[in-house]
Amino acid sequence: MDQRKCECGHTNPVGTLLCESCGKPLELDLTDKAAFPDMRYEGMARRSQTYTTTIVDRIWNTFSSVKVAIWIIVVILVASGVGTIFPQQQYIPVPVPTELDVERFYTDTYGILGTIFYQLGFHNMYSSWWFVLLLVLLGASLIICSLDRVIPLYKALNKPRLNQHKSFLKGQKLYAETKQPMDRSAEEILAQSAEALKKKGYYLFQTDRALLAEKGRFSRWGPYVNHIGLILFLIGVLMRSLPGFHLDEYVWVREGETVPIPETPYYVKNLGFKVEYYSEDEMVQKLDLKGGVIAKSYQTDAILYLNRNADTPGAKPDLVEVQSGPIIVNHPMKYEDIYLYQSGYQEMKLGALNFTLIDLKNGDKEVGPIKLDLYNPQEEIQVADGMKVRILDYFPDFAMGKDGKPITQTNLPKNPMFALEVLDERDAINEKLVYLQGSILTQKDNPRYGLKIEMPDLVDISGLNVRTDKALPLIFFGSFVFMIGVSMGFFWQHRRIWVQLQEGNVLIAGHTNKNWFGLRKEVQGMVEQTNLSVTLEDKTKA
């Protein structure tokens, strides 16, 4: 059977609960009030429920079920919670996360539970395939649920039925019935009711024996609008995986240094980094900081350059300045799609060693200064006229190797060791010197030249986070649409009041999707203004 016929003669599509013409419930025993159909779509057929024949329809129906949607929400909720029991991998203090280190961290820190957490892959839960799958399923459910309901809702809202069947009115939660007063005609009663409701801001639909007052209809669109917002949001999130839409790089830049930003044609220069601390008189109350201080600001003054020769990575850059200024926490530097954030720092790191070359045989006469840049040492340094120093060996992070030869442990100047030779203008070797751990070693017992150690140059290193998120406008737009949707849906209510005259009786019924308290107050007000002697009954209390 494809269609069902109502006793009024109208034929309705399959799945229809209330006759589209007269509003009489179809196929229902009206004595059972609890079984009165859901008012949401005024009994219109919801598409998905009408067909269950093919596999496509079955999949469709699964996703169109609110029950399934709720289950997806609950599973995401529980999984998200489980993922916070221990920190995610991105938040653990393991500097170079090899799988082994990461596993060891969870085991050592959280014991057997930590090991299980790691083994189940919960340390990267939110980017795991099954979590992503859940989010996509939620998106599918959002889209299909909305599509499935929007048509019956449109139909229901677009043709509000004036003349409802008595059983329809009686089925409403708010319902009252009284004898028509002898002194007034149907028109008068309806006109009075209409006037009372109009003052309350209702739209009116009228015939000579029936009145339908309606307001806040647009609030019914709220859920669809907010679901559209969520869908846009999720599309935005998905777009971040497209190439070029999302960038997340971290660069450490020494003061004075210019470094390339990976995956971009940009270079950034650190002109200077500074930390400020609150002074005592800037604090409102005396605080016991136990000797510590409270930071006031972290700031890197930076220049952003565009490399016009970026086609071949590593090739000599051709830089043009595109942006300059401070980068402060909460105030990133922005250029086109790229944002640079102040994100970390290392203070007072060795930048260069300073010495004065001394002529020991000449009354300790100072020959000239020597600066050894630890990151970029020159091979030869002119010290004075006719005197230069050549670097023979440089071990940034000195240690003794197993074979007794000096080695470096890293490429960072943590423990620099230099071997130098002092030369005169004829390149005749005068002296060989070694600097190591704050002292100078000489080759000869009775050297001519020596080095006086001066204050080294200390530099700050600034950690900058470089990010791009081209999908962000869509994500925030989706959020905005969501907010509009929920505001429509929750701050307004769809209220309908029917007043009908049937067989010498006045029938009053009301329906709303929320805030029955408010609806009852308005119906009560209308009843009082029209001087009808009815008491409103509330079905649910019976």
């Binding site: 920190p87 939110y126 800037e282 136990k290 930071a295 959020s479 907010m483």
Partner: protein, 409 residues
């Protein structure tokens, strides 16, 4: 007198008025069956007094918020004390709004004690005005935190009404699963009360228990020293592998299991044990006094109240609180996160829990609107929802430290 001292005083006044208002509300509800009284009139009279006390308290707390804002130069939402006090402020504000709509006395009898507990809880944390660290120096601090707190405050009223609905409607003649769970909820509320009582009592007493751990830490002045753990509550449980270096009023009963790592894990466990014990003592005491289930003892005072209206108030509060929460705790949070860290979402524990709250209330709304979960089912969900909010606000900050960790207890 300094401005911040005025501010502290105003908060104390507000606290005092909320306590008073709670007492009068409870009198309004329980006293209506006293001999020789017209129940309706009694409830009306005392209810009105209590309501106005709450209003004056709210004004005092508004004064606190303004003076502290001026004194500190930033909105009072930058640490645990300030946040909990502000959250409390939002609960009271939400209550006043709901009261203006529904004019229902009894809601106050549930919300105001909740307000008192939350404010008392904030007093547990260090109260000093601290200058803002760089990551908090943004106008989004004001916008994001205040809106989120307001949303959570409105949802808290939904919880109060939901709890009331359960006490009102669950039949107390026979013990059922529902009555048992309701008692559990009330016992947990009492544990929170117990925690506040224990914490503030012990803080005033001149006693400390100090342990030295084997791990080393760097002090703010740069020295490396063994980690010290200071208990403000008498030690029931000692940290594993620790040396007692200052004896407290009692010696520990047992040692925390080895897997409870972290400097403060054992101290937190100790605090938890005290809270649970004191809560159970309070609960047991009350049961002894009433000689029946607590919910059964409260139920008669709620007689004559329309449960459907209570259900609607709970739902209404949640349906108003949900958008506000979404805006404050998720959308504004994402905008700020983008400005401060360059990613709008980073799966930080606090973010995840805000999402969990949101998902939970989304499920609540779908169940209610689509699957007809009204009445008891919906009331239970409002209670669970508030528990999740408390986990987000308290547990996540104090137990699961992340980017949002404030200096705390």
């Amino acid at each position: 007198m300094q401005l911040y001292q005025i501010s502290d005083l105003l908060l104390d006044i507000a606290f005092f008025l909320y306590v008073l208002s709670s007492v009068v509300f409870i009198v309004a509800m329980t006293g209506k069956n006293w001999a020789g009284r017209d129940p309706k009139q009694h409830e009306m009279r005392f209810g009105r007094i209590a309501y106005w006390m709450a209003v004056v308290g709210f004004i005092a707390q508004t004064g606190y918020v303004i003076t502290r804002w001026v004194a500190g130069g930033h909105s009072p939402t930058s640490n645990m004390f300030e946040f909990m006090a502000f959250f409390d402020y939002c609960i009271i504000l939400a209550y006043l709004i709901i009261y203006r709509i529904y004019k229902m006395t009894v809601i106050g009898a549930f919300v105001l004690p909740l307000g008192v507990i939350m404010l008392a809880y904030s007093y547990v944390f260090p109260k000093e005005i601290t200058p803002l660290i760089p990551s908090l120096q943004s106008y989004w601090l004001h916008i994001h935190v205040t809106t989120a707190a307001l949303g959570e405050g409105i949802l808290a009223v939904g919880f109060a009404a939901g709890l009331m609905y359960l006490i009102l409607t669950i039949p107390q003649k026979v013990a059922t699963k529902s009555t048992r769970w309701l008692e559990v909820v009330l016992a947990v509320v009492l544990m929170l009360v117990g925690f506040i009582l224990m914490e503030s009592t012990f803080a005033r007493m001149d006693q400390r228990t100090v342990f030295e751990l084997t791990e080393q830490t760097t002090t703010p002045t740069g020295q490396v020293a063994p980690t010290k753990v200071e208990y403000t509550m008498p030690a029931i449980v000692a940290p594993a592998n620790a040396k007692l270096i200052q004896e407290g009023p009692m010696s520990p009963w047992f040692t925390a299991p080895e897997w409870m790592e972290g400097k403060d894990a054992a101290r937190k466990l100790n605090t938890m044990i005290w809270s649970v014990l004191s809560g159970l003592v309070l609960y047991g005491g009350l049961r002894l006094i009433f000689r029946k289930r607590l919910a059964a003892a409260i139920q008669p005072s709620l007689e004559g109240i329309d449960p459907e209206l209570v259900d609607e108030i709970s739902y209404r509060a949640i349906s108003i609180g949900y958008p506000v929460f979404t805006l404050g705790a998720l959308i504004f949070a994402m905008i700020w996160a983008h400005e401060a860290w360059g990613r709008f979402w980073g799966w930080d524990p606090k973010e995840v829990w805000a999402l969990i709250v949101w998902l939970f209330y989304s499920a609540y709304l779908h169940l209610r609107l689509s699957r007809g979960w009204i009445g008891a089912k919906s009331a239970w969900m409002s209670v669970i929802g508030f528990v999740i909010i408390l986990i987000t606000l308290v547990v996540v900050n104090l137990v699961i430290a992340g980017l949002h960790s404030y200096a705390g207890v």
